[in-house]
């Protein structure tokens, strides 16, 4: 198992500083919820982890090695939307990952190796409860089913790290709860390190073992891009420590205080 270390990581686009001086260590097997106002670098943080973006300064270490600045099979991802391939059936979507590694030229498996891969895909699909939808196209599935498919598709590669970019953002509340349970179950079962961006603070508190809050510490009203966001709160979570710190509420209200943030704060910590 390999831990992740951010060492003095900056991310800038031209003269706009998005993230500054990130120093954070994440142990393998943690479930990090990431919250923060819009435009506070949550997605950039995830892109750095994914390798879609490289840090402008500093290093990200995965265990003993630098993190490769290109997406690869060691890190799976589920986006809010467009995570699955619309032209492939449910089963083929899950097979895709297996076919890539076993068939470099054609990208397709045939005969016995295909059957073996199919069995593996079947197991993964039943783990997310989609075993009955094998032959359907993603467009024929509900939003919740599409996200479960995206999870199965990512997990078939057995990544160590799973990145979730607001995976439940487009789901309605009932489906959301079921999917929460599924994700926690999969996290334990596959011993994943999970990073999950969410706009829903309650969700962040409920799901994570650790909550990372992104916020701008310094703000120059004349030059809003001059300073980037940092991790302002790094809260270890377990059943006792679900209390919502007063100063955090104040901080979030000071910073973005957009409508969504207020709404999120109303949720507060869960009653359980």
């Amino acid at each position: 198992m390999s831990d992740i270390h951010f060492k003095n990581v900056w991310k800038t686009y031209h003269d706009q500083v998005v993230l500054e001086r990130l120093n954070v260590n994440i142990k393998a097997g943690e479930f990090c919820s990431i919250v923060g106002a819009s435009g506070c670098g949550k997605t950039t943080f995830l892109k750095l982890l994914l390798g879609e973006e490289a840090p402008s300064r500093g290093t990200i270490m995965l265990g003993e090695q630098r993190l490769r600045a290109e997406p690869g099979p060691d890190r799976g991802i589920v986006f809010q939307r467009y995570s699955v391939f619309p032209h492939l059936t449910v089963e083929d979507n899950v097979l895709f990952g297996l076919e890539m590694s076993e068939s470099p030229i054609l990208g397709r498996l045939f005969g016995r190796s295909r059957q073996r891969a199919k069995d593996q895909a079947k197991d993964m699909l039943s783990a997310v409860g989609l075993e009955h939808a094998c032959g359907k196209y993603p467009a024929e599935l509900s939003g919740g089913m599409q996200q479960r498919l995206a999870l199965a598709q990512a997990l078939i590669k057995q990544p160590k790290i799973l990145l979730l970019d607001e995976p439940f953002g487009a789901l309605d509340p009932g489906i959301r709860n079921d999917t929460h349970k599924l994700v926690l179950d999969l996290w334990r079962r596959f011993e994943l390190t999970v990073f999950m961006i969410t706009h829903d603070l309650k969700e962040g508190f409920q799901m994570g073992t650790r909550l990372l809050v992104f916020d701008k510490v310094r703000n120059d009203p004349q030059a809003p891009h001059a300073y980037g966001a940092r991790i302002t709160y790094d809260i270890p979570l377990n059943s006792d420590k679900r209390k919502f710190p007063v100063e955090l509420t104040a901080s979030l209200e000071r910073s973005g205080s957009s409508k969504t943030d207020k709404k999120l704060l109303d949720f507060g910590p869960g009653p359980e």
């Binding site: 994914l50 879609e52 290109e70 997406p71 690869g72 099979p73 890190r75 799976g76 991802i77 986006f79 939307r81 467009y82 995570s83 699955v84 391939f85 619309p86 032209h87 492939l88 059936t89 089963e91 895709f96 990952g97 076919e99 890539m100 590694s101 470099p104 030229i105 054609l106 990208g107 397709r108 094998c134 032959g135 359907k136 196209y137 467009a139 024929e140 995206a150 598709q153 990512a154 078939i156 590669k157 990544p159």
Partner: protein
């Protein structure tokens, strides 16, 4: 009373309404033709349906005295051969360069402005060059069609590649796909229906260039025949030929649509029949 935008015809009315313009045009033609022929029985401008039918029978059954060919069929075969070569080559070029410029940033920088400028050249303006370079044979006609429609298809497909959500390309990489595998398994299959769409849209243009090339230099073909018999004001040949070309164009459009629905059911939202794989 409902607003007119909310009032929908039922199935039978829909069919009747869609047939109405065709019937109207036919009726108007018949009356106009009879009126002219009543004045002058030798009028050539609006031949009677009977005269057109006779010409059509002659063209489809009686062999030409000099060559022994049945004109309509040889003309159709010649035109369709040129057209399908031109369209197929354009489609392949479109797919190849569309992916090359859509998927790979380096080749996009290298080629996309060049292709954009190429596509602005009016093809008819360089037809003389084609005749000089490639002679008056089949090749120059096929090349004219390619020059006429390939740049459009290339640019359309490049745009289609760029419009495939970035998330899918990232996802494929996290599933271990190489550039080649992304092209073969993610981009290509999603481009087939869009390529067919693009080809359907450019079929009209392809016919335009085909008939232009045949009118200028050919010894057979539908366009050649129309422009040949124009000298004798033979409307009884021209009109059936135009109707025939229209029918061919309409049929090829329908066939392409069916093909697209068959190979990319997901694109058309139609359920796959063998849902259990």
């Amino acid at each position: 009373m409902k607003r007119i935008i909310n009032r929908n015809p039922n199935a039978r009315v829909q069919v009747l309404l869609s047939l109405l313009p065709f019937v109207a045009v036919a009726v108007i033609y018949v009356f106009a033709s009879e009126a002219r022929l009543a004045e002058n029985a030798n009028d050539k401008l609006l031949p009677s349906l009977d005269a057109m039918f006779k010409s059509l029978t002659r063209l489809t059954t009686v062999p030409n005295k000099r060559t022994g060919d049945i004109l309509l069929w040889t003309d159709t075969a010649a035109s369709l051969t040129r057209l399908s070569w031109g369209v197929s080559i354009s489609a392949l070029l479109g797919l190849f360069f569309g992916i090359l410029t859509g998927a790979i940033p380096y080749t996009r920088s290298l080629l996309s402005s060049f292709i954009a400028v190429l596509s602005m050249i009016p093809p008819m303006a360089i037809l003389p060059i084609l005749f000089i370079m490639f002679d008056l044979g089949e090749l120059s006609k096929v090349i004219l069609i390619v020059i006429g429609i390939a740049p459009f298809i290339i640019r359309d497909l490049q745009q289609q590649v760029l419009e495939i959500p970035r998330e899918q390309i990232i996802k494929a990489q996290t599933l271990g796909a190489s550039t080649w595998q992304i092209i073969a398994r993610v981009l290509l299959p999603q481009l087939y229906p869009r390529l067919i769409q693009s080809v359907r849209l450019s079929l009209g243009t392809a016919w335009l260039f085909l008939i232009a090339a045949e009118a200028i230099a050919a010894t057979d073909g539908l366009g050649y025949r129309i422009f040949l018999v124009r000298r004798y004001l033979a409307m009884d040949v021209i009109l059936p030929y135009v109707a025939w070309i229209t029918l061919l164009a309409y049929l090829s459009d329908t066939v392409l649509l069916k093909l697209s629905q068959h190979i990319s059911p997901w694109f058309h939202g139609t359920q796959r029949k063998d849902a259990s794989a």
